[in-house]
Amino acid sequence: MTFIKIDKKDWEKGLERASQRYGLFGPVRQEQYCVFKALTAGELPDMAVQNTRLSPRSVVYPQSEKMFAFSLDENQTDHHILKEIDKAYPARAVVGLRPCDARAFLLVRPNFDTPEYKDPYWVRSYESTTFVGHACSGPCSTCFCTSAGCGPFHEHGLDVLLADTEEGYLAKVLTEKGEAFMAAAGWETEADAAPDDRMAAMKAAAESKVTAKVSTDRLKEQDTTDLFEAPFWEDVGFSCINCGTCTYVCPTCWCFDIQDETRGLSGIRMRNWDSCMYSLFTLHGSGHNPRNTKTQRVRQRFMHKLKYYVDRYQNGIQCVGCGRCIQFCPVNIDIRRVCDLMNRFEVS
């Protein structure tokens, strides 16, 4: 494992050099909040931001993505035939994402990338991207990453981990992709003075600042049907207005809907993020809706993240503890409270 020292004065220059090989993405301030977007020439990622409002999931998996084009013109020989829209996947790098957001891609991956099925859009996009993470030294009050299988210096899913130092950054290069990025940026000065000890100390200090915790130890052993029928769902779901905020700000939500749109005689097939909070999500063609009430939909979201995922993927909960759903829920539904209710539930 290599540790590289990046001096403040080399930061901008390095990113500029890297931008010749990579399309760069990073957190950028928009009025009161930050989002991830493609950086324009000379634009720097805002490394002061704690958490972006929307996660970087859209960098790999856009909210709306065109997949196929077709023609309805019957004079054309290939009318009504779906044709894949050519998309290029040049090398890209996300600079300044938090470790929780990087781990989120790993939690999402089993949905898009299995030995049997590969979602060509997600997989190509993910594989062409290098993740240069930024360790958290000051977590938000809503962060609970350390008890969600993650942490402020977590490395899984990252190619490089940057930690703030007085001189600039201490970079831990984690993968070959990471090495290639560092070389492209021209950051090559090896850090001296026991960098792994320094990083370990920073890590321990950061972890101690994450005071919010959830307990997840009993989720796996809980009986699915008992949890499903637990009496607390009416109380949990009462305030929910069934908007899609929690699912759209979440880095680990992956559901989408496929739509055809036509204009004149030409059309496209696209996919758009969907949300289990919407009644349309489960509406059958017959008119029947198996999740017709808001309580059922709220239960689905939490059961999926905290029970079904746990049972199916042996990968912990489908949550990295970024706290966005807690911060932005218009009615203050708190996944930490629900997780604890589910974890400690006992059939009476």
Binding site: Q30, E31, Q32, Y33, Q50, R53, L54, Q63, S64, G138, C140, S141, T142, D235, F238, S239, I241, N242, C243, G244, T245, T247, Y248, V249, D257, Q259, E261, M270, N272, S275, Y278, S279, L280, I326, Q327, F328, P330, V331, N332, I333, D334, R336, R337
Partner: protein, 315 residues
């Protein structure tokens, strides 16, 4: 306003123990700074969890829609006007609700407060007229009046217009308020400038529909954006579809919107969607001398016809 809570609890306890209602809908303390969560209480011994402070901005009329039980509900001025609208539109019966009126002095805009803080606010302590905020390396006291949601700052109906119980003496209504300064500014723009303004206004929308779902008026069994046969609106991030949603939603609220601010408060992206509904509110006031939700005894302008309705716009 903070002292209302004792009376709110007392009334709620009485209504529940005398079986006048099956549940009381109110607020419990939130888990995030400057947030409370709507909740229901079914047993008199549980009324202790109810809270009242400047973080009760969510419109509770939204939680009454189509409920069948007998319900006690805590209502600020705007909530009470939406309850009136619900009664007019048959979403709840008058004899089904016991309205616990709360004279309101405005709700805190937590995003406005956060914008004034050096880092994340970890604690907020509210008094009658001040708000003390603390976080890593800072602590400051703000004038609560300056920190109100914009719709509260320009509110002219702070007292409930309909109620069965009152949690406190009525508060004086604000006078001399200019409610439509922002609307007039947009009205004065050229068509092109208006287009740019709306494009910019809605550019960050993620179509989570929090604005729609927080609104007590938006109770259609199937919203027009969710219709599939025919499908009126596309579902992508195409700005045309996003604009269609917002403009049509605003029109559906014409003559019904009480400017409770639930939509803006709910928006995770901080979009000022109220400029759309306020324009329609202004039109209803100027054309029909109408303010929504003031009395259950009068039909709203958009579902009545009168021979002397203004028609200058038909030329």
């Amino acid at each position: 306003m903070l002292s209302y809570i004792d009376k709110i609890k007392e009334i709620s306890r009485r209504l529940l123990s005398e079986s006048k209602v099956e549940l009381v809908i109110g607020f419990r303390k939130g888990s995030v700074v400057m947030m409370n969560e709507p909740c229901f209480v079914r047993r008199p011994e549980d009324v202790g969890q109810l809270v009242w402070d400047g973080n009760c901005g969510i419109n509770l009329a939204n939680y009454l829609t189509d409920r069948k039980e007998k319900i006690g509900v805590i209502a600020k001025g705007c909530d009470s006007r939406n309850i009136v609208t619900h009664i007019i539109e048959n979403k709840i019966r008058r004899d089904q609700v016991v309205i616990i009126g709360v004279p309101c002095q405005g709700m805190i805009d937590r995003r406005k407060v956060q914008a004034l803080a050096e880092s994340e606010i970890r604690q907020a302590i509210e008094t009658e007229d001040s708000l003390r905020i603390k976080g890593d390396g800072f602590e400051k006291t703000l004038d609560k009046k300056e920190m109100l949601q914009q719709n509260c700052a320009i509110c002219i109906h702070r007292n409930p217009v309909i109620y069965d119980e009152l949690a406190a003496d009525e508060v004086p209504e604000q006078s001399g308020v200019d409610r439509y300064e922002d609307v007039r500014r947009i009205e004065a723009m050229s068509a092109d400038a208006k287009w740019d303004f709306f494009e910019d206004l809605l550019s960050t929308c993620i179509r989570c529909y929090a604005c729609r779902n927080a609104c007590p008026l938006c109770y259609c069994p199937t919203c027009f954006v969710d219709e599939s046969q025919p499908q009126w609106v596309g579902k992508s991030q195409d700005p045309v579809d996003i604009r269609t949603f917002h403009f049509l939603r605003a029109y559906h609220c014409a003559g019904r919107c009480t400017d409770c601010g639930a939509c803006e408060r709910a928006c995770p992206m901080g979009i000022k969607v109220r400029v759309l509904t306020k324009k329609l509110e202004k039109d209803c006031l100027e054309l029909f001398d109408w303010e929504a939700g003031m009395t259950p005894d009068k039909r709203p302008p958009l579902d009545t016809y009168q021979a002397n309705d203004p028609d200058e716009f038909i030329k």
